[in-house]
Subunit: 329 residues, 2 copies
DNA sequence: CTCTCCCTTGAACACGTGTGCAAATTTGCA
DNA sequence: TGCAAATTTGCACACGTGTTCAAGGGAGAG
């Protein structure tokens, strides 16, 4: 049988004071005399006392937890985002309750409901789309909802969007400047809003310029999908440019183009990606891509936590073209 | 002002039953008549009732939380591990409280104390080393402690170790078979136990065989470190083999060897890594490496959660040589 | 010295849930 | 129908904390 955790009653008894004094000692800005404070701290130290956050949260009817919903956490983009977010939360005194949706297609509603049960202060949705009923529930119960790269048809939720349209436009302009005559757009079959936006904005610019485009989409957002795209698309020898809506697919595409389809990059084929994941700068790729600052994105999420409830703030994360060496100059 | 969450009292009132009935309806195996159950469920549905896990945990003096401590979550190895672990926890009805140590060198004690405050059921340490005082505290308070790839000098903690020694030995044997005469060992400057073990085991086999070795160590466990190692080591043209204790460094090393130092791999130089991260199988690398099954590792962690408290189980995660194309046949 | 004001202290309540116990009700059997 | 057994129900307590409220006590001003 294990002994239970030390409670504030134990500490109070040992320090010879009331339980209130103990509580006040550990509460910022409460009124305790230095003498009592010292005795309490010493007793707490000796007994190994730890505040019970569950009881604390029960009282305040809210915890310091922030629920984070995501999927495919091992993909570089997600991993980087989660890494920075979890650091930022901790630094702000918030704890991260991580719910992994396992599959980008799976319904995230049950996960969000779980977060509700923990009376989390806020919910951050990194992937998947929360149903409207849940958005309502968040608002009704005073839980901040922050959605990343999903455009909800609502005006009472914080939304953080990378500027996909500007990014895709930058990519299109760059490929035009490289003199491409026929370009491919590579996207996954998952049809996430982000990918759709990038795909559409790029296509719009290209068709307006009269450039031939061919849109390819299939499979999940992975390296293998990019590889497959290269193998299927590049039998058409007229294609001399490609916009892959995600770096991870761009890297697969590059490998397929060079190794399987015998293309020289950038001489025969210009390739441009999106996200600027760490691997994009590896020497074997040196992928020209559109970067969205992870720092800015993370800061936007953290800032959103402080926003007034029910007030919608749409934050656009700016993008920039990172010139490396997969597009002809 | 926001309305508070719905409580079991509200539900009981609406359903016209006692609060106990509500509680029992949501408790597995409690005794409720079908009639009452139906009324309660309907009322709960209409009001949007959610059990308050904080109050629940307060009562049971333990929550369903599992604290996970890690660092460098965006490195492929860590990301993959966290991804699988968080899925596995969720599937078992446990929630993942993620604490990011931000820096591999930073002290993880404060993070573990935070986990204590949440009365987590178990603590999983992915990186960093918990001080002995905390190990004691875990045991005293009935909190399961699971440490991955850290050898603690204790017999009352669950420890999960990839079989570094067997892996490093496999790597050494393979390089010997490739006919290498002088091999480099590339390791980071962080000196984690895992890396030290791999380094030592490899060196032991090689020196026993009379092969020349040179050990290089510097910087963090990153791609850039591998790149740097190649630039510094390969001015010595006698080196014809390299064991990088981590795939991420092996990939950097490969890029440096090929692009900066003009080596052909595997003709001039054989390279072997460790971990089998997803990037190792990318077409540009096709890195020969030692794999440790992420599935087995994850399963071991989940299994450890069910072990008796205070009983130590040391699980060895088996390794295997994955032949690709960076070692001469 | 007395009065007032401010700081500190302890008692009591609230937070929302699970559960032991005894009463109430239903079921099973003869 | 009558009785015992089994099931269901409600009351009350416990979990560990924050906080309000009134009482206590000390210091400073007149």
């Amino acid at each position: 049988m294990v002994k239970a955790f030390v409670t504030s009653v134990d500490v109070a008894q040992r320090a010879g004071v009331s339980r209130s004094a103990v509580s006040r000692t550990f509460t910022e800005g409460a009124s305790v005399s230095p003498e009592v404070r010292r005795k309490v701290l010493q007793a707490a130290q000796e007994l190994g006392y730890r505040v019970n956050r569950l009881a604390q949260g029960l009282n305040n009817s809210s915890s310091n937890l922030v629920g984070v919903v995501g999927a495919n956490l091992s993909l570089p983009f997600m991993a980087k985002q989660l890494d920075m977010l979890s650091i930022g939360l901790l630094r702000r005194g918030l704890q991260c309750l991580l719910l992994n949706a396992a599959d980008a297609r799976s319904d995230i509603a049950p996960l969000i409901e779980l977060i509700f049960e923990f009376r989390a202060r806020a919910i951050v949705v990194l992937s998947g789309e929360p149903p409207m009923s849940i958005v309502d529930e968040c608002l009704a119960n005073g839980v901040k909802l922050i959605v990343i790269n999903r455009q909800l048809a609502r005006s009472d939720t914080d939304i953080i969007l990378s500027d996909d349209i500007a990014g895709a436009t930058l990519a299109a302009e760059r490929l035009k400047a490289a003199g491409c005559r026929k370009v491919a757009v590579v996207t996954s079959g998952s049809g996430t809003p982000t990918q759709l936006r990038r795909c559409k904005a790029f296509s719009d610019v290209m068709t307006a310029a009269g450039t031939d485009i061919v849109v390819w989409h299939d499979g999940p957002t992975t390296y293998e999908t990019g590889l497959k795209a290269a193998r299927e698309l590049l039998s058409d020898r007229q294609i001399d440019g490609a916009f892959c809506v995600t770096d991870i697919m761009a890297i697969g595409f590059l490998d397929g183009a060079r190794n399987d389809m015998g293309r020289r990059v950038p001489e025969d084929l210009s390739v441009i990606g999106f996200d600027d994941i760490p691997q994009a700068s590896w020497r074997s790729y040196e992928l020209t891509t559109i970067s969205q600052s992870f720092e800015v994105l993370t800061e936007a999420v953290l800032a959103a936590l402080d926003h007034e409830l029910g007030q919608s703030v749409i934050t656009n994360v700016p993008v920039a073209l990172i010139e490396r060496s997969t597009v002809r100059r």
